[in-house]
């Protein structure tokens, strides 16, 4: 037989062997290439004090209880802060038609404050896509205390303060995530003429996952220097620093922490932290979240 014939037979065999490669490989080659978004960058919608990029799932309602005891340096008389607890109870809801929009509100005993927020996912980290997840957070806080000076003309808008944050987060690997949060705070009313109404801060937060259900979190809010940030009861605002642990069970996330701030809404924890941790102004606290699902299947 000639060379051509052998070549032909060879080709036939090759062809049939390619065919015998199998149905599974064939099927895998037709698999659509879907974007693999990073998930569970953080365990909860709060890193500790500040918002993380996480939100409840689409159409889910989350109930959040936040609690900060008083300062541990208040001694035995106050049972190391037990008697001066501060609380915030809130609800947050992710719209059923888009997981990008999350709204929430809460009421804090600190300053009898009502707070409202909108968190929007702008970009999500993905394999072969964006290296970062980016969300936008705007919050409003309405102070509910009686007017300090009821005899003067007081305006409702004077009770309001706002924060706007860009949340830039990256899940580096399955155990380490980090978030940077450039922040603008605006207070409608400030006590002194040299005080700035608007000022800037930079939030930083990270988590290290130590097991399937436990992670260790840390957070720091840096008030940019050279600004006249309004004093709180005559005390200069401090950078908030917090250290905590997240413990997750089926439907709950428990976050236990120590921190030098007692307010649990953004304007408060960013701009009204007066505790100086080096002097023992440390609060023990916890957040508990519970998710309710109304999704129809």
């Amino acid at each position: 037989m000639g060379t051509k014939t052998w070549l032909f037979i060879g080709l036939c065999l090759l062809f049939s062997s390619v065919q015998a490669q199998g149905l599974l490989d064939e099927l895998e080659s037709t698999a659509p290439k879907e974007k693999e978004y990073a998930f569970a960058t953080f365990k909860a919608p709060r890193i500790i004090q500040g918002h993380s990029i996480e939100t409840p799932g689409k159409g889910e309602l989350m109930f959040i209880i936040q609690h900060r005891f008083g300062r541990i340096n208040t001694g035995f008389y106050e049972l190391f802060g037990w008697d001066q607890a501060s609380i915030r109870i809130g609800l947050e809801y992710t719209l059923p038609f888009s997981e990008r929009f999350n709204v929430g509100f809460g009421r804090s005993s600190y300053g009898k404050t009502w707070d409202f927020f909108l968190k929007t996912k702008l970009l999500r980290q993905a394999k072969g896509g964006s290296p970062l997840s980016i969300s936008w957070l705007s919050t409003m806080a309405i102070n509910g205390l009686d007017w300090a000076n009821p005899n003067q003309q007081n305006y409702f808008t004077s009770r309001m303060a706002y924060s706007h944050q860009l949340l830039l987060a990256r899940k580096f690997n399955s155990w380490f995530s980090f978030q940077l949060s450039p922040t603008l705070v605006h207070k409608n009313l400030v006590p002194l003429s040299q005080d700035q109404n608007s000022f800037f801060a930079l939030g930083m937060g990270g988590r290290v996952k130590v097991s399937n259900r436990v992670s260790i979190n840390a957070e720091y809010t840096w008030l940019l220097p050279g600004q006249h940030i309004p004093n709180i009861n005559g005390l200069e605002p401090q950078n908030a620093i917090s250290l905590g642990v997240d413990i997750e069970t089926g439907g709950h996330v428990f976050q236990l922490h120590i921190t030098n701030t007692q307010a649990m809404f953004d304007v408060g924890s960013i701009a009204e932290t007066t505790g100086r941790p080096e002097l023992g102004d440390i609060h023990v606290g916890f957040n508990i979240t519970r998710t309710f699902s109304f999704k129809r299947r």
Binding site: C12, F15, L27, E28, A40, G57, S174, G250, T291, K295
Partner: protein, 177 residues
Amino acid sequence: MKNLIAALLTLTIVSTGMAQKFTTKTGHVSFFSDAALEDISAVNKQALSAVDVSKGEVAFVVQIRGFEFEKALMQEHFNENYMHSDKFPRATFNGSIQKAAPLTWPGSHQIELLGKLEIHGVSKEIRVPATLAVKGEEAQLNLKFSIKLADFGIKNDKVKNISETIEITVKTSMKKA
């Protein structure tokens, strides 16, 4: 010589042309865990499946991330803590139809599938009963079986939030390729 060439040619053509292959990209794969704390179920409606009736081959490819749960948190746990879907994004099955007598089409038959099931990066030979029906341009392949978590290196919690045995149901309706 010419006969040989003709024979080979026919063989090649026959082996391609005769293939009775059916596929879909929207197969349903669901599972159910009946545990003390809460029942957990999930469904994936984008399973790839193919059956080659003439060769008796069957294959499935299922994206782990494609399983939808009642609660987002469950889905997160499933991907992050149990299935490690960033490392093992797919589950696959590659097997053959075991038959006692030749199957006739159109028709519906109780068959057995023998093949390799790969979940969580661990591959295991399984033999499961199934129903295969072919009618004209359509084929339906349904199966239900149970697997043990331990067989696939999936670790349960200490508190046993999920059962040790998971029931898997596969329902596919495929079109002729």
